[in-house]
Symmetry: C2
Subunit: 350 residues, 2 copies
């Protein structure tokens, strides 16, 4: 008997549960008779947890995640908790830190089929990955103070924190097109100067990987003007937050982008990059693809089942080509219809 994989499920707020359901259905269909046995442990997180237990990340949720082999998370937060003592987003920062998920990986892809959705005029396929440091920098540095007179945040990085995420980026480049671009503001920031030094040393031990650097302001331009030139973009937490959203926007299909957050050991976490879309919650029209791709990413990266991931991703491509898509992609289909279409495509391919 194979051991059962344990998957912690944090189903999210507003459209969160709608697309999580879709993701779990596809997981079930894709693993049927595939020698992949798993069990789901669904635990409260974010707004849901604030409502039921008073905090966005209850202890038992953290424990369930720690005891799992992978975590699936859907979009959280929303106006309902704007005035909560601890908001859903605080739970997000906490879970990243407590699971030590120091690298966040976000693919940006514009295939030929998807160029119409892009808000930019492009003539090339785009395919890069942003590796964002996720558990340090100005998100976590102290002192962090605020009074009537003024406020302070601290951007701080240790050499070790830079090294470990840099290795993730270079290892990834080795499996891709062997090109890493470090994004920083080394003409101004001390932390950026350290990033250049430390990453430069790591680069020296990956002789096959081309390495260059760009200032963050220049990169904000290049994401629009020459996105086809990048392979792996490595950057610190705040710059990664901004650039990965900008990168998502140039695909024109935010609702299709998954992400993965990884630590040293312990479970990785998979989630869509978009928010909980309160405006369309309950209408049944949320795009499930970002969540379904997160499931595929999990199968490939946490469970070494690239074969199943490929089947899911191919099934998604077929659905998109047939234009069985939700309104955000110009279609007329519901979340359920898109999900069924993808499941049918998976079954037909097996």
């Amino acid at each position: 008997m194979m051991d059962k994989k344990k998957i912690a499920v944090l189903k999210g707020d507003y459209i969160g549960p709608e697309i999580m359901n879709a993701g779990l259905e596809v997981l079930k269909a894709a693993t049927e008779n595939q020698n992949f046995d798993y069990e789901i442990n669904s635990v409260p997180f974010g707004g849901e947890a604030i409502d039921s237990e008073g905090v966005p990340l209850p202890d038992r949720t953290l424990q369930a995640c720690k005891n799992s082999d992978a975590v699936l998370l859907s979009a959280i937060g929303g106006p309902k908790w704007d005035n909560a003592a601890k908001r859903p987003e605080a739970g997000l920062l906490e879970i990243r830190k407590k699971l030590n998920l120091f690298s966040n990986i976000r693919p940006t892809q514009i295939s030929e089929a998807m160029q119409d959705y892009s808000p930019i005029k492009i003539e090339h396929e785009v395919n890069f990955v942003i590796v964002r440091e996720l558990t340090s920098g100005i998100y976590f540095g102290t002192p962090r103070t605020k009074s009537a007179a003024g406020a302070v945040d601290t951007m701080s990085y240790s050499t070790g924190e830079i090294e470990r995420v840099a290795k993730v980026a270079f290892d990834m480049a080795m499996r891709r097109n062997k090109h890493v671009t470090l994004v920083d503001k080394a003409n101004v920031l001390a932390t950026s100067k350290l990033w250049r030094e430390v990453v430069g040393r790591i680069a020296d031990s990956y002789l096959k990987v081309e390495f260059d650097c760009s200032y963050v302001d220049a990169m904000a331009m290049k994401v629009i003007s020459e996105p086809e030139k990048f392979d792996v973009i490595l950057t610190e937490n705040l710059f990664g937050d901004i650039l990965s959203d900008e990168a998502a926007e140039i695909t024109g299909s935010l609702g299709t982008i998954p992400s993965m957050s990884v630590g040293e050991n312990g479970p990785a976490l998979y989630e869509p990059i978009h928010g909980s879309a309160p405006d369309i919650a309950g209408l049944g029209i949320a795009n499930p693809i970002s969540m379904i791709k997160s499931v595929a990413m999990m199968l490939e990266n946490s469970f070494d089942r690239g074969d199943l991931a490929t089947r899911i991703n191919n099934a998604i491509e077929v659905a998109i080509n047939k234009k069985v898509v939700t309104p955000d992609l110009g279609g007329k289909s519901t979340t359920t219809e898109v999900t069924s279409e993808i499941i049918n495509n998976i079954r037909e391919s097996s």
Copy 2:
């Protein structure tokens, strides 16, 4: 006799002097017989000053600026000074701080005529202004340290620093479309929370101005997806650096964008937003429009000669419509030819 206006000229590096010459020629033509008397004081700055005096901002240059009514600056820096003890960019930060130029104003415009140049698919005219805080935040905060073990930067803001630049933004909105959008990261940063509070209070005293807020990551998307929705975007130093370059990129015509940096009293500084373009220096093909528009901005804002600014800007429009433009805008004209065309258009309109 009218008093002579004193203009300090910092002519810049690489293409800097080429476009500064163009700007000064247009200034001369536009003010001929217009009751506007001025004198130019050209002083070294940036790379040029490092070469001649060892530092990017010599004392006499700072004094000349302080004694002037306005400062015209062209693009500075370049690879030649990459290893200088103090780089040209350090001079830029220093002059901003020492002239107390706390608000940096960058217009982003895409007129119907310019939509073809834009890398984004747009159906609307775009016309917003970014007001970026320029003398505080993580650019200047201390401690700023770096050792082999780690590094630290400090983002700090006093309430007063936020108030004064916020007023600039709201006053500007009153003269425009009465809408201010504050960009911050208030779901994470203490300084951003302070910005929201302080700017919110200022907003209360501008009842006619619509006020809203956006997170910086979301704004990085909206600059691409709905740039037509903004009027005045107010933000702190680092976010302004990134967003204003992104905004410039969506116009597709970086070489046409001027900027102005303003303090409480003392001279304002006018400069193109682009760099010194070492790759095309000396070829005579640099786009002079950004510098010429900087001159127009100076005439309007430092010397209350909106009439002359309008004539210059109209003359530029005519040149663009006739496609007398440099290669970056798809034309075949040289810097000199574009400048002459603009000067002719000015003369014909008077």
